[in-house]
């Protein structure tokens, strides 16, 4: 039961609009995000990309990690990124993780397009909606653009036999704040 999500790319010449619908979560993000990595690979220079999030219902922190990584790859090669039409709950989560400080957000794709400045003369204007071909999930997630060390997890330990969680028998005693 993989959560429903879809990523399609609309090619406007120098600007690509990535339409993301459904819910991006742990069950599907590694596969779905490959459509955008393929787009970036196919447009290695000066890619102007808009994420249309109008029909995106949910995204988790890993999805945001991928968007941050893609932002690094695109801007390092002279491109620009914008977000358009995010629902309030999506904008809320983008904001709390700080992505709105990196990527400007707009209420419409037109405003997002305008933020990129005038189009280059060579840009074709015909819009064509092309479904992106999902690629198999990579064995290893794409390397982050910023090569800083990530203390995400310590060294893996052997997997021990499963220990069932016993049924709860006592009411929860509220814990004192540990870190905040």
């Amino acid at each position: 039961m993989i959560t429903d999500a879809n990523i399609t790319v609309e090619d406007l010449g120098t600007i690509k609009i990535v339409h993301i619908t459904g819910q991006l979560d742990e069950s599907n993000i590694d596969e779905k995000i490959q459509a955008i990595y393929k787009l970036v690979e196919a447009n290695p220079k000066n890619l102007n990309l808009i994420y249309d999030l109008e029909s995106l219902e949910y995204m988790n922190s890993k999805s945001i990690g991928y968007l941050t990584d893609l932002y690094g790859k695109i801007t390092e090669s002279g491109g620009k990124v914008a977000i358009a039409k995010a629902k309030p709950n999506i904008f809320d989560i983008l904001q709390v993780v700080g992505l709105t400080q990196l990527i400007p957000c707009f209420d419409s794709t037109e405003l997002a397009k305008n933020s990129f400045g005038p189009a280059t003369p060579a840009a074709p204007v015909a819009a064509a909606t092309t479904p992106a071909t999902p690629a198999p999930a990579p064995a290893v997630p794409p390397t982050p653009a910023t090569p800083a060390p990530s203390p995400e997890v310590p060294a893996p330990a052997p997997v021990a036999p499963s220990t069932p969680i016993p049924a709860p028998v006592a009411p929860v005693v509220p814990q004192p704040p540990a870190q905040q």
Binding site: M1, I2, T3, Q23, D25, E26, N60, S61, K62, I64, G65, T68, D69, T75, I83, K85, P88, F91, D92, I93, V96, V97, G98, T100, Q101, L102, P104, C105, F106, D107, L111, S115, P141, P142, P144, T146, A148, P149, S150, E152, V153, P154, P156, A157, V159, A160, P161, S162, T163, P164, I165, P166, P168, V172, Q175, P176, P177, A178, Q179, Q180
Partner: protein, 175 residues
């Protein structure tokens, strides 16, 4: 659906799941509906706790409980007071963490100088930590961890609407 329980009586719901992310869509739906219908938290916080629960469970599934094992989610709500969510793993997963280890990891990542550079790692501090009033970690006697978060209604009501995106870009900060 109206919650007619006395406001001081805790409502307690426990869900045990196999270690599999495929169930999380249903858990998110349940969280959203439960908070909207049985608490007086503003809608914004129903969406926020949907993310908090998802991130807690994803961590437990990814690191704390092995495939074939399980995780447990417990919701405790005292109407007009607080919502608490506990997520337990069995400690059989690929990363052996003690209370002290995860407290240090959490503390380190809360430092302003910490740079989140990988695909993963934002959930615990940036979402769970930011959207909770209290967070605590406990070792389970049988092995594994319990991560507990708590949100008080009085704090949640200080702002009760979701943000809206800007028509103008915000300040762009690049390291």
């Amino acid at each position: 659906m109206e919650n007619n329980l006395p406001s001081t009586a805790p409502t307690r719901i426990t869900i045990t799941l196999p270690t599999n992310a495929y169930f999380m869509s249903g858990i998110r739906d349940f969280t959203l509906t439960m908070i909207k219908n049985t608490t007086n938290f503003p809608e914004k916080w129903a969406f926020r706790f949907q993310s908090v629960v998802d991130e807690l469970c994803n961590n437990a599934i990814e690191y704390g409980s092995a495939p074939g094992s399980e995780i447990r989610i417990t919701f405790v709500c005292v109407k007009d007071d607080y919502l608490e969510i506990d997520v337990e793993d069995t400690g059989t997963g690929k990363v052996k963490m003690t209370k002290e280890m995860i407290e240090k990891l959490y503390h380190d990542r809360k430092e302003p100088s910490y740079v989140f550079s990988g695909i993963r790692g934002r959930g615990l501090v940036k979402i769970i930590g930011e959207w909770s009033d209290e967070i605590s970690f406990k070792d389970r006697p049988e092995g594994g961890l319990i991560v507990s978060v708590k949100k008080y209604l009085k704090n949640a009501r200080q702002t009760d609407t979701l943000p809206v995106s800007n028509t103008q870009p915000q300040t762009i900060l690049i390291n």
